[in-house]
């Protein structure tokens, strides 16, 4: 059975491998360019010396912005695997009537489903795992470049987090499971693919919105107008607010009369801060929670996948009749 599954999946797997090779090639080329820029612009040396590298970092970001963002598209990979591999898996057989051929051979439909599911799932997970590895390697130079206070490339930032560790695998399994189940339920390829999109995306976005609450966030309070002591650590900053003397969040800093007469700006700012008791408060998830968050998020998606796959198997074996 597995040999038939392999033969049927071969064109799909081969074309995906080619696509994967293209992505890897692109990653290698752009990674070289980024490493060269880090070295030649002196940013690398600057970071090593621990100085203020904001300008250099900004220049780096500006130059590679498009490339960095283009890799954001890979976020779609799990979804595409679900749509193009999962969706047609059962649906195409039902559509072309080949289920009547293959389910009436000696092994029956249970074995058929197990073989086809197993093979594609292994393939999809392998593709995602390779992609994740490549992305992690690709991100290495970027990770050193933390634009002040922004932590754009911190590991908990969703632009990074979603490509790292084990969550991409969990996304893939989930998208694939949804595709298979939709195919069994709708019995048609195109509706199954559309349904996969329509189910996967809201769930993915929903969990993304939940992520900042996986664990209660921490807060860091520090003097107004200064840099956070946690700057550059790669935390995920959820909020950056100003509080006044009473400790309530304010978005308006009023200048008291006593400070208005001060001649120089630094003195005036010090006065305002002093008089109003203004402080910065950052709400953040510390970067050290990366793996905890990975486990929580993967757990959510794997749990959902198990439920959806169970539905798909039950539907094919018991209900499709």
């Amino acid at each position: 059975m597995i040999r038939l599954a392999w033969r049927l999946a071969r064109p799909n797997l081969v074309s995906s491998a080619v696509l994967l090779a293209v992505v890897v090639g692109y990653a290698v080329l752009t990674n070289r360019a980024m490493t060269a820029q880090l070295r030649d612009s002196g940013l690398d040396a600057c970071i090593a010396s621990g100085g203020d590298c904001d300008l250099l970092a900004q220049a780096f970001s500006d130059r590679f912005n498009l490339i960095i963002n283009s890799f954001g598209l890979l976020n779609l990979a799990p979804m595409l695997l679900g749509v193009f591999w999962g969706g047609p898996l059962v649906a195409r057989e039902l559509e072309q009537g080949t289920h009547r051929l293959v389910w009436t051979q000696s092994h029956g439909r249970g074995r058929w489903l197990a073989a086809r599911l197993g093979l594609y799932l292994a393939g999809a997970v392998a593709v995602t795992a390779i992609m994740t590895e490549v992305m992690t390697w690709w991100f290495k130079p970027l990770e050193r470049v933390q634009v002040e206070g922004d932590a754009a490339f911190g590991r908990l930032n969703s632009d990074v987090f979603d490509f790292r560790g084990i969550v991409p695998l969990a996304y893939t399994v989930f998208a694939f499971a949804v595709g298979v189940a939709a195919g069994a339920l709708f019995k048609r390829t195109i509706p199954a693919m559309v349904a996969t999109l329509a189910i996967y995306l809201p769930v993915k976005i929903g969990v993304l919105l939940l992520r900042e609450r996986f664990q209660p966030p921490l807060t860091e309070t520090y003097p107004f107008g200064t840099t956070s002591p946690r700057a550059g650590k790669g935390d995920w900053r959820i909020a950056h607010e100003v509080i006044d003397k009473a400790g309530t969040v304010t978005n308006r800093v009023s200048v008291p009369a006593v400070c208005r007469t001060l001649p120089d700006e630094a003195a005036m700012r010090a006065c305002v801060t002093e008089q109003g008791g203004y402080r910065f408060v950052d709400t953040y998830q510390p970067v050290g929670r990366f793996w905890t968050f990975q486990l929580i998020e993967s757990g959510i998606f794997v749990g959902l996948s198990a439920a959806v796959l169970a539905l798909a198997v039950w539907w094919v074996v018991r209900k499709l009749a």
Binding site: R7, T104, Q105
Partner: protein, 289 residues
């Protein structure tokens, strides 16, 4: 001897529409059984139930004495669906390899012989085969599994006369060789008449007749006589169908009770007349024996 296919009050409903109902049957093994009926009579439904692709809404079906989906049964029943599904991207050779992968009892030399005899090129993609070639290949896959029971749903419906003849010829020689029991459905009586020794007639989702053809023919007679006297026949005989011309009545009568009235001409019935009569009978209770 256990019947190869046994149904007990078998019924299947799609939504509110019954495709098959009250089907009680026992088909004996070792012969070619024709399943005849107009389109939509429930032939495909009955075969799909027998091969486990469908589940009954009510009643029960047993194949080779077991449930259709039990593991042993699936291996012993060959099935070719009406549209002869095969993977279009596979070549003929790969299709045979698929058969070997999926069936432990696969007869590889036999399969190759059959393909050679039919004259199919091994490296041709299935999608490029003609309808007749595809049917032959599908039949080869089903036969090479070495089934005890072979179910064919409208095997020749979409074939031209030559392909049809070739297909039935292959089938008959296989039956003679291996003694496999074949149930083939058709809405065309001619195919069945030539090949089948046992006839099951389905119409309006119900089984109308099920017996071997000899018995069926000997149980029925065509009676022609004056229309005015037709009523008298109804009281003494089971009239399956009556056809009235202006003065004349032609009646299909079931049973052997003698008809002595010289006004009536009695002649044997042909299988075609018989089948047509039962198919066009709209009310099944009229023919309950």
């Amino acid at each position: 001897m256990t019947p190869v296919l046994e149904a007990e009050g078998l019924g299947r409903r799609y939504g509110r529409q019954w495709a098959l109902r009250d089907c009680t049957l026992a088909l004996p093994g070792g012969q070619v059984i024709g399943l005849v009926g107009p389109n939509g009579a429930g032939k495909t439904t009955l075969l799909s139930l027998a091969v486990g692709l469908l589940r009954p809404t009510e009643g029960e079906v047993r194949v080779l004495g077991r449930r259709p989906r039990s593991p042993g049964t699936v291996a012993e029943v060959g099935f070719v669906a009406q549209d002869k599904p095969l993977y279009r991207n596979l070549t003929v050779a790969e299709t045979l390899r698929m058969g070997a992968w999926l069936n432990p009892g696969w007869d590889a030399p036999g399969a190759r012989d059959r393909i050679t005899r039919i004259g199919l090129p091994m490296d041709q993609k299935v999608g490029k085969l003609s309808g007749g070639q595809r049917s032959q290949l599908a039949l080869t896959v089903a036969l090479s599994k070495r089934p005890k029971l072979l179910l064919l749903d409208e095997p020749v419906a979409d074939l031209d006369p030559i392909a049809r003849r070739d297909f039935l010829r292959t089938l008959m020689s296989e039956v003679a060789e291996s003694g496999v029991t074949v149930v083939l459905s058709s809405h065309l009586l001619a195919d069945v008449e030539k090949t089948c020794e046992f006839l099951v007639l389905l119409a309006t989702s119900h089984v109308q007749l099920a017996d071997d053809t000899e018995t069926l023919l000997s149980q029925h007679r065509m009676v022609t006589g004056p229309r005015a006297d037709a009523q008298s026949l109804f009281s003494a005989h089971t009239v399956v169908q009556a056809d009235y011309a202006e003065r004349q009545a032609t009646l299909l009568v079931r049973g052997r009770a003698p008809i002595n009235d010289p006004m009536w001409t009695v002649r044997p019935v042909s299988l075609e007349e018989l089948a047509l009569a039962y198919m066009s009978t709209s009310l099944p209770q009229e023919v309950a024996a």
